[in-house]
Symmetry: C2
Subunit: 156 residues, 2 copies
């Protein structure tokens, strides 16, 4: 299966409520995610299922991808992906029943999850960044092969 | 410094001489590398120095990058980058005196070098693929941070 890790787009520094949970994407952050979603469509890169962190900035990122997705795509908010997620809890709490699954979450979690799934790599996961990891069968720690890691700049 | 690892483009299956060393890029391979070079220019991604493996398919890949490079760029063919290169011999035999250095070589060397420089990652380095690794100061084993890994498909 193909697993896509996506970091949410650029978010406001402080939400109206003052809670980190509620921070929304900025206008620029939304536009950037939109252009990434459109570019992925052009490239024929689609998802069958998107799991998003419940935090507003991640959910908004997921909604933009869903809005532009050309194929049928399931969507689920999964609390495991809230900030503080790791590969072990991810594999215990998320069902990988689809062929192309995208996970939308936060840093430093996304970097650590990629690292744990593919070996032990130091990396920079930029906002709106997207990584593709290929597995033979279900995802397992250390069994993933990194196919790409794209920074949003590449889609400019 | 920024280190870019590049795998040569698609090459003919057999050279006229019969030697693996002499295998040339196919017409499609040349076009793909050309489109990658132009796209990197658009994105402002340039090199100060390109080191290439002496094998014809790598040298031809380097020449296409050099031809399209918008800034001054040094070029050197370095035998260390011939097939069978690893991170240790690379660091011993190549001078990293420039800020943005590109190395053009082969598989499985490029994957293994990336892995050794950034941790221990399983990855697929496609033909024409390019990775950016960021170092504080000179490159050292395990000290690199992977910023991107792009497959040529992304530049379609």
């Amino acid at each position: 299966m193909n697993l896509y890790l996506i970091r949410h787009g650029k978010a406001e520094v402080k939400s109206e409520s003052g809670r980190d949970f509620d921070r929304e994407l900025t206008a620029k952050g939304k536009r950037k995610i939109e252009s990434i979603a459109l570019r992925l469509n052009d490239l024929g890169i689609t998802f069958d299922k998107i799991y998003s962190s419940p935090l507003v900035r991640a959910k908004q990122t997921a909604e933009i991808f869903l809005h532009h997705m050309i194929n049928e795509c399931d969507f689920e908010i999964n609390n495991t992906l809230a900030a503080g997620c790791n590969a072990k809890t991810l594999l215990e709490n998320i069902l990988f029943e689809h062929e192309k699954v995208a996970l939308i979450g936060h840093e430093p979690d996304m970097s650590q999850i990629l690292s744990d799934l593919c070996g032990a790599v130091n990396l920079q996961f930029k906002k709106g960044g997207i990584a593709k990891i290929v597995f033979e069968g279900e995802p397992r720690i250390g069994a993933g092969i990194l196919e790409f890691l794209i920074t949003p700049k590449i889609f400019k």
